[in-house]
């Protein structure tokens, strides 16, 4: 009689499939949370300005999603127009992470202003951005960020990042799909790498040309040249060039057409 009431023993004695659940093999899931949306960005500083530029193409694989998806943003300004901002941020890589990162930094810079009654300095913002990136060290924002603005002395400031928050201040930096095409050009044309003063000596005595801050018009032309060249050799770069220029008068935005093929 006792055996009729003994429910726990049934599963084992009868051997129905629903009692064997514990022996199930563990299933692996195959969801990859990242994608690459292509594109390239570039930043150069001068003595009293900083320029951040990026193309506006968005890709997935060989498809062009859209020809107008800007990658460079004003940080800490009006939500719609970006008015009143003094910091610029470019993000390239996984666009969804880039947007999330932009919105977090934007609200932090805004909150700083409300809480302290003054604008956040570019160096403070740079350190904060590094912290945001590092907080997601083990599930990173898959983006290469560049932050720019004017420092406390009014000089152009530019900070470049890796996806997990390592950063340094530089004169110029290219990031994204065509970074490997643009960066050597910048090394040569901005930092005058491999350029020597003619007739200054023979062999090791040859004197290297010293880098110095370039005028704004010259830098703008370098940026346009860099992108027109990158468009020729990289399929993920093209459509339009977006340029944000930070000066003491605020941030100016300009667009130039690039090849759409």
């Amino acid at each position: 009689m006792a055996s009729l009431l003994d429910h726990s023993a049934r599963g084992e004695t009868v051997g129905y499939s629903f009692s064997q659940a514990a022996a199930a093999p563990v299933k692996q899931h195959g969801f990859y949370p990242y994608t690459d949306n292509g594109g390239s960005t570039l930043g150069i500083t001068g003595s009293d300005f900083a320029i951040l530029a990026g193309d506006t193409r968005s890709t997935s694989g060989y498809n062009i999603n859209s020809r107008m998806v800007p990658k460079v943003f004003k940080i800490g300004g009006d939500a719609e127009t970006g008015e009143g901002a003094h910091i610029i941020l470019s993000v390239v890589g996984f666009a969804a992470d880039g947007n999330a990162l932009k919105e977090r930094l934007d609200s932090i810079v805004k909150m700083y202003r409300y809480q302290h009654g003054k604008r956040m300095s570019v160096s403070a913002c740079a350190q904060r951005l590094s912290t945001i990136l590092y907080q997601k060290r083990f599930f990173p924002y898959y983006v290469t960020a560049i932050l720019a603005g004017l420092d406390e002395e009014g000089k152009g400031a530019l900070y470049s990042y890796d996806p997990v928050g390592s950063y340094e201040r530089e004169q110029c930096r290219a990031a994204g799909a065509a970074a490997s095409l643009i960066m050597p050009f910048l090394d040569n044309q901005v930092n005058f790498k491999n350029q020597y003063i003619p007739g200054s000596g023979e062999g090791h005595a040859l004197e290297a040309k010293k880098p110095e801050p370039l005028p704004q018009d010259h830098v703008k032309q370098l940026v346009r040249d860099a992108f027109t060249s990158a468009v020729e050799r990289h399929i993920e770069v093209g459509d339009n060039l977006q340029m944000l220029i930070a000066t003491k008068d605020g941030i100016q935005e300009v667009f130039h057409p690039l090849k759409k093929d």
Binding site: F18, A22, F31, T35, A95, A100
Partner: protein, 260 residues
């Protein structure tokens, strides 16, 4: 029949073989959707002068099986916003319920539902991004159509990873390969939106649906089309692709079962 009520109504192991217990997993890690099950194919959308048009076919596939042939994949939100769903149908139904609850809540508020298509798109993309960040994605690629805050026509895309982009004409899935080139040829970038009429946009969508039906094996000739203008939404859900011509089919050579 035996005297164990738990076993009644279940397939017998000695007849049907043991049930694959991996579906009844009780131990091990918590599992999430790692692939879609019942899916819808392309969604296509075009902006025109004063509005937006969106279209999908009415098929929900189960792998290569045309499982449900009367599934409406265009969902209305509020007064003048439409969401077109591609991807997992159960996730579509979940999102639809989510949007319905927002719509009801908004309508009970004193100001009524003031959310436009742009707000809706922002919301959806954040839902997608949050779920992908939890490794529990909603397996969809959607197009949102309607108007932005300034009353301008709005068309934008959001997908399971939270990626978003906007363009005068968009298509998801197979449509990204087949429909977008047709739309880009019909409405090139140089042509301003003011020169695209409602009729041209609708004709273009019908043409794209036909090409998709010819070439996308997971598509159907029954479709839904929504046209959003300032007068409201004109949603037709039981349309049929017309004037098909399969004459091209016999000239298709060079692959498949053909030997010559």
């Amino acid at each position: 029949m035996n005297h164990f009520p738990e076993a009644w109504g279940r397939p017998r192991d000695d007849v049907y073989g043991a049930y694959n217990p991996s579906y009844l997993q009780t131990s091990g890690p918590k599992t999430h959707t790692s692939s879609p099950a019942v899916t819808g194919t392309s969604v296509i959308g075009v902006k025109f002068n004063g509005g937006v048009a969106l279209a999908t076919d009415n098929l929900a596939s189960y792998g290569s099986l045309a499982r449900f042939t009367d599934v409406k994949r265009l969902r209305v939100f509020g007064e003048n916003a439409i969401v077109g769903f591609g991807g997992d149908v159960s996730d579509m139904q979940y999102i639809d319920r989510l949007l319905e609850s927002i719509d009801i809540r908004e309508n009970y508020s004193s100001h009524g539902n003031m959310l436009n298509a742009k707000n809706l798109h922002t919301y959806l993309s954040k839902v997608f991004y949050k779920r992908r960040s939890e490794f529990n994605p909603l397996w969809n690629h959607v197009l949102v159509a309607g108007y932005d805050g300034d009353g301008q026509p709005f068309l934008s895309s959001a997908d399971l990873l939270g990626t978003t982009f906007s363009a005068p004409h968009l298509a998801t899935g197979f449509g990204a390969h087949l429909a977008v080139p047709i739309l880009r040829r019909l409405f090139p970038d140089e042509k301003p939106l003011e020169e695209v009429s409602k009729e041209q946009a609708i004709d273009a969508l019908k043409q794209c649906l036909k090409v998709l039906f010819y070439r996308d094996a997971r598509s159907l000739d029954k479709y839904s089309i929504a046209v959003i203008t300032k007068d409201g939404i004109d949603l037709k859900e039981n349309e049929q692709i017309e004037s098909q011509s399969w004459a091209f089919a016999e000239r298709v050579k060079g692959y498949g079962a053909q030997t010559k």
